[in-house]
């Protein structure tokens, strides 16, 4: 997939996810093999000091993957680095965004460095990171 004209500072099309719910967390636990009970066992999560079960950090990382693939296609992502900043709970609506930091020519490819971040409905950043994609 060819991306349109790119420039440093440009934002890529955002990805708005539907509200996180417990069913999604259970499905993600099963599909990813992360069975930490904090993601599906309410009493366990409360005992750990949370108001409810919490979303997997890696769910936000997966959203970044989708953000990038929706933009430049599935074969372009070379690096994704994510820092988890705050917790996402069922009911939260998250939006993932990306901004171009740097453009480089590498052989026949064009490498794009991006800043990516994921924010909740109230603007809280839940995860942020950096990514490298290559475009032919």
């Amino acid at each position: 997939m060819k991306a349109p004209k790119l420039s440093v500072g440009q934002e890529i099309p955002p990805l708005v996810k539907r509200p996180i719910d417990r069913t999604q967390l259970v499905r993600y636990a099963g599909a990813s093999g992360d069975f930490n009970r904090i993601h599906f066992d309410e009493p366990f999560a409360r005992e750990a000091g949370h108001p409810s079960v919490i979303a997997h950090g890696m769910l936000a990382a997966a959203f970044f993957g989708q953000l990038l693939c929706d933009w430049v296609g599935p074969t372009s992502v070379r690096r994704l680095s994510v820092r988890f900043k705050s917790i996402t709970y069922p009911g939260d609506v998250v939006t993932c965004r990306g901004q171009i930091l740097e453009l480089r020519n590498e052989n026949e490819h064009r490498a794009v460095e991006l800043r990516v971040w994921c924010e909740k409905q109230d603007g809280t950043v839940t995860a942020e990171g950096n990514a490298t994609v290559v475009i032919r």
């Binding site: 499905r27 099963g30 599909a31 950090g57 970044f64 599935p74 690096r79 680095s81 820092r83």
Partner: protein, 144 residues
Amino acid sequence: MIDRSFLGRTSEPVVWHVERGHVRAFAAAIGDANPIYYDDEAAVAAGLPGIPAPPTFPVALRPRDVREGMAIDWRKLLHGEQSYTFRRPLFVGDRVSVVARIADISEKRGKSGTMDVLVIETTGTDVVGGQVLFVGRSTTLVRR
């Protein structure tokens, strides 16, 4: 406090087959409806050799747990950071040998007290070609 003697511990490899049902379940769980993850024809029409896996699918190809014996309290564990480098996407039909290594053990003093910091590096190697397909680096924080 995590015993630093665990540093460098490496797991026995696990060979994972990238299966279409698993990719489908993963894509559905993350709420990604892109037909390339569900349908061969859609993948081929997109110029791909087959059904790819989403970028963070390697998380599902779990290595053997190298944290055994570390006595970690799961209620106090938080995933701090995760990074991946990818040679290419994984495709349905790939066979990947996955190994984990304890890459670093340290401690960090923060606002909420001292935490143990555990870095685990996971490497996925193509069983057929021998090339490294992905390297993941996971940083977890354990509150004391």
